[in-house]
């Protein structure tokens, strides 16, 4: 009985976010489509255009899906249903993850495939590609958590601003790390410890953020 209410909530979120998902996939696909043609410029443009929807998705989804729900006072309606606050949080995290991961996995796989098959950029850049792609995911976890836990819009927006401003910095720092840049220009995929370390940290931090969100939500005493 209980699971079905959580299930209904997840289904509802899916129903309401279908269009944004579609737009993201289409946009990302278009960016990937441009990249193989023409010269280097197209590659750069395609590359940038590729990451934008991922970032936008990571940021807009929590603000829109969760923040809006609170601002538009839908939360009182949801909490009138037979769910606990933790169940609500669970449904929100699951639906947000699913809704984000569907386009993310689709686009990142497509990008990797494109590199493998068409050699748009050197094959060796795949690890860096993955590292860069995980950043919006990390940002997504942070913003989702901040929006859920923070009682006002401000927190989600602050997290949003924080992530947006750090992407550029992160990209820059990465270009300064030889053990990342050297293999990136190679023709073969090379997995070294730096790459693996960074990838692992990104994943671990993301999971920690989700766990922290859960923990903070469970401590709350006033929900609406």
């Amino acid at each position: 009985m209980r699971d079905s209410v959580v299930g209904q909530l997840i289904w509802k979120d899916w129903q309401m976010q279908r269009v944004p998902i579609l737009i993201t996939i289409v946009w990302g696909a278009a960016a990937l489509a441009i990249a193989p043609w023409g010269g280097v410029n197209n590659r750069v443009v395609g590359g940038v255009l590729f990451f934008i929807p991922l970032i936008l998705m990571g940021h807009m989804l929590p603000l829109g899906g969760i923040g809006n729900e609170r601002k538009k006072q839908n939360l009182a309606f949801l909490m009138s249903l037979p769910v606990s606050f933790i169940q609500y949080t669970t449904s929100k995290l699951i639906s947000s993850l699913v809704i984000f991961l569907i386009p993310w996995v689709t686009l990142v796989s497509a990008a990797v495939l494109l590199v493998e098959v068409r050699g748009v950029v050197p094959h060796g850049s795949i690890p860096v590609l993955l590292i860069l792609s995980l950043m919006p995911f990390l940002g997504f976890c942070l913003i989702t958590g901040a929006t859920l836990v923070g009682e006002t819009e401000g927190w989600g927006i602050a997290a949003n601003v924080l992530c947006s401003s750090t992407y550029g910095l992160a990209w820059f720092f990465m270009t300064q790390v030889p053990s990342l840049m050297v293999p990136a220009n190679g023709a073969v995929v090379v997995w070294n410890s730096t790459e693996l370390l960074i990838l692992a940290s990104e994943i671990v931090v993301s999971l920690l953020l989700l766990g922290l969100t859960y923990f903070l939500q469970s401590r709350k005493r006033d929900f609406v």
Binding site: M16, K72, Q73, A76, F77, S80, P82, F223
Partner: protein, 298 residues
Amino acid sequence: MSDLAIELSGVGKRYKYFALDNIHLKVPAGQIMGLIGPNGAGKSTTIRIMLGLVHQDSGEVRVLGHRMPTEQVAAKWDIGFASEDMRLYESMTLGWHMSFMQRIYPNWDSAYAQLLLKRFGLRADQKIKGLSHGQRVKATLLLVLARKAKLLVLDEPTTGLDPVARHEILRELTAVMAEEGRSILFSSHNTHDVEQISDQITFIDRGRIIDSMDKEMYLDRWRRLRLEVPHGVELPALPGIIGIKRDGRLAVATANAYVPDLAHAYESTGARVQRVENMTLEEIFVANVEHSREEVEA
């Protein structure tokens, strides 16, 4: 199993600028309780505590036998809640919301839901954002009513509605009483509505319960005595009289514990009782709140 739909014992809640203090409240099963109080009195907070949406700092809360907020999920299966600041999803239709509720609640009565659509003048294919305020309120109440919930907890269900809409809603609320064992608690500062349909009345002001009792008994205790007082006669302070306003030879005494002896007592001082009037709940409301605030300050 107790026959109380709602029971609050010694409930307290502290906020920065406001506190609920020692709230005791009992709503017997099968009755309608009207919760009245000025704005900011604590009606909404008290209601949220009943739903487990706000965790009380002290005291016990039992709703339909369940302890709140720990057992709120079990309780909410049988509680229909609607509050003034609750909103449905703007971009979805009323029909979508109805299907949503139907999938969750086994008690959903589709036939009744359709009837309510007609009675309330709503259409299922309308998006919520296209509805007027009154229509939204009715839509939210439709979703609650069609569930045939055992207990309805409504925070200001008729506020901001035109007289026709208010009547439509009062009609459905009183119809709930046709089935024994179903209860309603609703808050309002519309005293006419409370006076008309409540079996029990509770007054709350500045975070404290002032009065809580049977409506008929309560209305019976309050009277306004219009007196003609000759010069030189001092009106005595009598038990059960909470205030006297005097203007020359005319005086009005307000009683909150009226017995016919009071009239006789005045007459024996030389004053003449012109009329003993019943008071409307609105008049009682104002007199009661003013009196209780004076007492607190004294």
